[in-house]
């Protein structure tokens, strides 16, 4: 475990080699294989480290490794006038939360690297190496973010993933929309980063340290800020601003759907599975801080659930397969924030993990579909693909069932845990979340039905004689995987023409194996979190993660000390999560007193019912009676248009923030031009004038003096040069006279 710093280093090496050498010299295969190799090594190390972590007793599962000093110690004044030491070592920390993230990042990262070798096979040679270099660089930064044991290191990763996100979204930089989307993502993220770094400043100003654990421990000793807005609330709010930027929450979610301009593996890795969860992870890392700021927790929960709801409604009407998934990602992230907001940190982190599996799976599946359709992303031009690509269909169906929350797939357990905790905390949030769950099931199955069922609506290919644009007609489709048949499409097989595109086809093995691996993950990941209502031993992952969300002192001290006593009283008033989590671990959770086990199971059944209802509605609208959906779209044309245009949020931002910034910039430019430029020009003019004056004086005074000296010498030499006759004997004679004169003088004077 001493070598956990190697885990981020390996992808960094991969990025450096691929970026510096590979772009010019590596073949596609070499570049891909090298990148995959570094990731696999990192995964192996992560698994080893995680295994060691599991071997430790629960209380000691935290491990710090300091590699080197980054910032030397700088004394700085703090809020109370004392002097704190600002220092930031390159320290890495492995504990249950970062361990889980570590496995998610390296595991899914490896799968997506493998997948990319096939997906990017048609790119130019240098482009592939560039792609893998960025991808590796991203993994490096993400691992820094996850493993960093202090805020500055975390911030390095935080900024780095933003940078890589920009690079990868704009990977096809010749495409205007792609480079625009990259810029949009980067700039939107900057807004959030501004909040994050301010939060970090305030943390240092308040606590005098930036070590994550020290901050948690110090914060645990501070009173809970109920009903007022203190410094902890300010810190949490700023950190939350950062989280909204990175994790695409209201109001900064706008970049994520546009980020789908990047290659699909990127969407899967960065904009679904890992980077966007950084905000959730950061909130979880600072769980103690947040649990001391219940007002901010409420904000987090409300923002989370509103984001979930809003993104889900937009997702209902999108036609781009990746955009649907993007909005569902935003929506699921909203769930995670809801979980964090209601104090269910473990549930949020658990959902993060399961979501990473099934959303990466769904994205890779959609990438497989897009690959098969030669770049087509519009679901209206797909349909009936089930028979062409059975593996993709089966794995995506697993992912869809998981996200819809059908047991026993992973999404069920994590989402249900969130719903349950929300139900205990706030019925309004719960009901909004349930509506979102309904819509999630609906739009995901809408995607599945439009893509895989019905008739083929895509472009024709050579050698195929089928009528496309066929109505969805008589289709016998079931939600259960594998029994549906696209009736009108039975009369042709694969196209065997020799055109550039041979029709939809199953993807190569390098793409399907990661799909299977993720599908297995999407099925089994949920079993880690089987709730206590079903399994008496309780949720395994909750026990595992719980130490990461509480401060060390609180964990180590028994409840009897006065400090904890104060905290417990506050807990009862506000149910802050640190207390709740600890209580859950102790086995007497308040919630279980409020809601009986039967009630919890009832809620589960209810959420499953909701999901099934969403599925059935999708089936009715898009398989059995497609005309209904069109009718609905017409009947509620206004609402449909608003949703299709994503609530006009982009336009709103354009009208307010962006044009405001632009006009402010223009005004500043005017100031620049007139005042600053004027000052600069004035200075220049003054310089010019003074140099002219000094030039004059140079010319007349200095030059005059010099010339005068020269002239004097010249004039006087006119006479003296006569002496220089060049005749030796003249000189000798003069010398003789001189000697005679001196001798004579000597004789006389003596």
């Amino acid at each position: 475990m001493k070598y956990i710093w190697l885990i981020p280093l390996l992808p960094a090496i991969g990025a450096a080699v691929n970026g510096l050498v590979g772009v010019r010299y590596f073949s596609r295969r070499t570049a891909g294989a090298f990148a995959c190799a570094t990731m696999m090594l990192a995964l192996g190390l992560s698994l080893l480290a995680f295994w060691e972590l599991l071997g430790l007793p629960a209380e000691e599962r935290a491990f710090d490794v300091v590699v080197a000093d980054w910032f030397p110690s700088i004394p700085l004044q703090l809020h109370d006038g004392s002097v704190g030491t600002f220092r930031a070592p390159w320290g890495f920390r492995l504990d249950p939360l970062s361990g889980m993230m570590l496995l998610v990042v390296t595991g899914i990262g490896t799968l997506i690297h493998v997948y990319s070798t096939a997906y990017m096979a048609d790119e130019p040679r240098g482009g592939v190496a560039r792609f893998f270099s960025y991808l590796n660089l991203f993994c490096f930064f993400m691992l820094m973010l996850v493993l960093g044991n202090n805020f500055p290191v975390m911030f390095v990763g935080w900024e780095g993933v933003g940078l890589c996100s920009y690079l990868l979204i704009g990977y096809w930089y010749e495409k205007k929309s792609a480079s625009d989307a990259g810029k949009k993502a980067f700039i939107t993220n900057r807004v959030g980063d501004w909040g994050f770094i301010l939060g970090v400043f305030l943390i240092f100003y308040t606590f005098g340290t930036l070590d994550l654990r020290d901050v948690q421990n110090a914060a645990a000793l501070m009173p809970v800020e109920t009903g007022h807005f203190g410094v902890l609330s300010a810190i949490c709010l700023l950190l939350f601003v950062g989280a909204t930027g990175k994790s695409a929450q209201i109001p900064l979610y706008v970049w994520l759907p546009d980020a789908m301009e990047g290659p699909t593996p990127v969407s899967a890795l960065i904009h679904a599975a890992t980077m966007v969860t950084a905000g959730v992870y950061m909130l979880g890392r600072n769980a103690v801080l947040f649990s001391h700021a219940p007002e901010v927790m409420t904000i987090v929960a409300v923002v989370g659930v509103l984001t979930a709801l809003m993104a889900a409604t937009i997702g209902l009407v999108q036609y781009d397969i990746k955009r649907v998934l993007a909005y569902s990602t935003v929506s699921q992230l909203g769930y995670m924030f809801t979980a964090m907001g209601v104090g269910a940190f473990s549930a949020g982190a658990f959902h993060l993990m399961t979501h990473a599996f099934f959303k990466a799976l769904l994205f890779l599946g959609s990438g497989s579909v897009i690959h098969a359709m030669a770049g087509e992303q519009d679901m209206r031009r797909m349909g009936g693909l089930k028979k062409f690509m059975p593996v993709t269909f089966a794995t995506m169906m697993i992912g869809t069932l998981a996200i819809a929350g059908i047991p026993p797939f992973a999404g069920f357990f994590s989402k249900d845990e969130i719903l349950f905790r929300a139900f205990l905390q706030n019925k309004v949030i719960w009901s909004l979340a349930v509506v979102t769950a309904l819509m999630t099931a609906f739009y995901m199955f809408r995607l599945m039905y439009m893509t895989f069922y019905g008739g083929y609506r895509g472009p024709a290919w050579e050698g195929a004689d089928h009528g496309h644009g066929v109505a969805h007609g008589h289709v016998d489709a079931h939600a259960d995987a594998g029994t549906g048949h696209a009736g009108t499409q039975d009369d042709h097989g694969h196209g065997h023409g020799h055109g550039p595109w041979h029709g939809p086809h199953e993807s190569p093995a390098a793409m399907t194996y990661p799909l299977w691996a993720l599908a297995v993950g999407a099925v089994v990941a949920g079993f880690l979190g089987i709730p206590a209502a079903i399994l008496p031993s309780g949720s395994a992952i909750e026990h595992f993660l719980e130490p990461s969300f509480t401060a060390q002192e609180v964990r180590l001290q028994p409840d009897g000390t006065p400090l904890s006593g104060v905290r417990l009283q506050a807990d009862q008033a506000t149910r802050p999560p640190a207390g709740a989590e600890r209580a859950a671990a102790a086995g007497h959770e308040e919630g279980e007193h409020q809601v009986s086990r039967a009630g919890e199971i009832g809620l589960m059944a209810f959420s499953v019912l909701i999901a099934v209802a969403g599925i059935l509605a999708a089936r009715r609208l898009y398989v059995t009676k497609p005309e209904i959906s069109e009718g609905l779209a017409e009947r509620f044309a206004g609402a449909h248009r608003v949703l299709s245009n994503k609530y006009y949020v982009d336009e709103l931002y354009d009208a307010t923030a962006i044009s405001g910034t632009k006009s402010a910039a223009r005004r500043l430019w005017t100031v620049d031009r007139q005042v600053v430029d004027g000052a600069v020009n004035g200075t220049g003019w003054v310089t010019l004038f003074s140099s002219w004056v000094s030039g004059l004086s140079d010319k007349h005074v200095v030059d005059g003096a010099v010339n005068a000296v020269g002239w004097t010498a010249e004039e006087s030499s006119y006479w003296f040069r006569r002496l220089q006759t060049g005749l030796v004997q003249n000189y000798a004679l003069l010398m003789l006279f001189g000697v005679a004169a001196f001798v004579g003088l000597y004789l006389i004077v003596r």
Binding site: R721, Q724, T725, G726, L727, V728, Q729, A732, L733, L736
Partner: protein, 93 residues
């Protein structure tokens, strides 16, 4: 002493009035030898051997000087085809 004085005067006059550089050179040698005689005479009169040692040194230096001087004259003659001092006015302004 008189011999020495006579030689010196002859040397000086030779340097002053002759035009041939070789003669001038020989006159300079005369002056040097006048000095030598003077040194030896004083040495004998004052019963001090240092004067004679000094004279030997002067002769040695004069030999070197003669070599250098003759070399210069030779080089000059090769350039100008003359030994007339009046045509040697390279140091004129």
């Amino acid at each position: 002493m008189l011999l020495s004085a006579a030689l010196f005067i002859i040397g000086v006059v030779g340097v002053m009035v002759r035009r041939n550089i070789i003669i001038i050179f020989m006159s300079i040698e005369l002056i040097l030898n006048a000095v030598n005689i003077n040194l030896v005479a004083f040495s004998a009169q004052l019963q001090n051997a240092i004067g004679q040692v000094f004279a030997v040194f002067v002769i040695a230096v004069a030999a070197a000087e003669a070599a250098v001087g003759l070399g210069i004259i030779l080089a000059f003659y090769r350039n100008k085809e003359t030994v007339n001092i009046d045509e040697m006015n390279l140091m004129r302004w």
